[in-house]
Amino acid sequence: MIDNWQTFLIEGIYFLAAILFILGLKKMSSPVTARGGIIWAGVGMILATLATFLTPHLSNLDLIVIAIILGATPAWWSAKKVAMANMPQMIALYNGMGGGAAAAIAGVELIRASAGHELSNTVQTLAVLGAIIGTISFSGSIIAFAKLQGLIKKSLLFNKQQIINLGLFVFLLVLGAVIVYIGSVPVIVIILFFLVALVFGVLVTVPIGGADMPVVISLFNALTGLAVAFEGFVLSNAAMIIAGTVVGAAGTLLTQLMARAMNRPISNVLFSGFGAAEGQEASDNAGIEGSLKPIDATDAAIMMAYAEQVIIVPGYGMAVAQAQHKIWELTRALIERDVRVKFAIHPVAGRMPGHMNVLLAEAGVPYDIIFDLEEINAEFEQSDVALVIGANDVVNPIARTDPNSPIYGMPILSVDKAKNVVVIKRGKGTGFSGVENHLFYADNTRMLYGDGQKMAGELLQGIKEL
């Protein structure tokens, strides 16, 4: 099997790289060792890449080197530059690139097959499947990026969209089957096949609303992994099969965890579009008791300064306002006054699970005062003040009470149980779901209207002046 020392060396290094990837991923699952994890995986990647240069009969070396330099430079630059709040869309973008690369591999192999380098049926099937998945992940991720970046504002829903999508998908499968069955089809058919897959990826992603994007990005991440594994089979490359499959499985689990936290089955996210909830908005406003009660920053500051325990609940609004640094200053001022401060993070607060944690970590908030939903929900009752900054749907008590609400059943942070609730909010609008938030009208809630960063600054000022 192993015909010479070169192949032996390459296979050995791939084997080592696969081990490094798995161990790296394992290390990344604990905050203490996480940093080491990415470095291990990085070493694996460099080794595998260098080993590939030793592949026997590798031509176009000049092109390979130029392509690597051209690909690496902008990616390195953008990854270093991007603001923490924009991380989710960057992950979507890099993930799309991976999907595109898997599709490109399939493209080269399929075109070679049509030129006479025939592949077995199994290999050809896997190449086609990987091509479909990779291409959808590519165009879908680009749309996800554009949406989160604000390049596409609207969630497009048009008539009979699902039927068109289904039709297109069936057509895509038929084209794929034709390619596998005939073996060497004209190049034009292969190009058509990729175009249909591209369009399909766009159409599937366009109707999905911003709130569901984390689940979708995670799903595309898993899909790219799978596409890489399939193309690994095509090239009989064990490193690609193992790494791709591990990511495919891990990504699938991660997607499920996120969808569960949002109480939305994955099928729902993909096929309904959150737009369906908009029609219900009007009826939700009925039955709200109480009124919105504004408060000054000074009064809110006094309330927090004399509290025993304060729980801060950040949401996407904090990311938009870039308020995390001010919030951490505020927290330190409170801690100096012997107030116990904890952060409560809903699994889907922000644009991704853990998005808030990343922002807070950037500001320097230690992760041992940050708690998940299950850990902290019982503590709201003993808290004097819950400070909600830019979170909305994840603290809406209607999810517990109204079976007709689109967010009914979603686990929420029991902010309404705290003795006092202060909500920092820019205006009177609703959250992503378009559902009116009953928390804002509750007797123990006060609204602090304004930009998150500015208001956090004013609260800090208020506490310091005491």
């Binding site: 592949t55 270093k80 990511v247 891990a250 998940d372």
Partner: protein, 96 residues
């Protein structure tokens, strides 16, 4: 060459590994982890290099070239984004 059934075994075992490794991840690491796994499928670079390495016609070379570029973007971007995120995790005790 990796024979069909052996490939299937690799696939199955790797799938279990992926599932198990992630199963005990705290929510606070979800985004970095998604980013980290995003980096790991950057291994597609190896495949893209091989594909470009045996491309003959100009069309194949062009597609292979784009493939290598995209794959490098995936690996390099994924690495630095993940590293930047993980760099920030600290405890209040001050150690890393």
């Amino acid at each position: 060459m990796i024979e069909g059934l052996v490939a299937l075994y690799i696939f199955m075992l790797a799938a279990f590994v992926g599932y198990e490794v992630i199963a005990k991840v705290p929510v606070i690491l979800h985004t970095p982890l998604m980013s980290g796994s995003n980096f790991i499928h950057g291994i597609v670079l190896v495949g893209a290099m091989i594909a470009l390495g045996h491309a003959d016609t100009n069309l194949e070379k062009a597609i292979g070239f784009i493939g290598v570029m995209l794959a490098t973007g995936n690996a390099v971007g994924g690495y630095f984004v993940t590293e930047r995120m993980l760099e920030m995790f600290k405890t209040s005790k001050g150690d890393k």
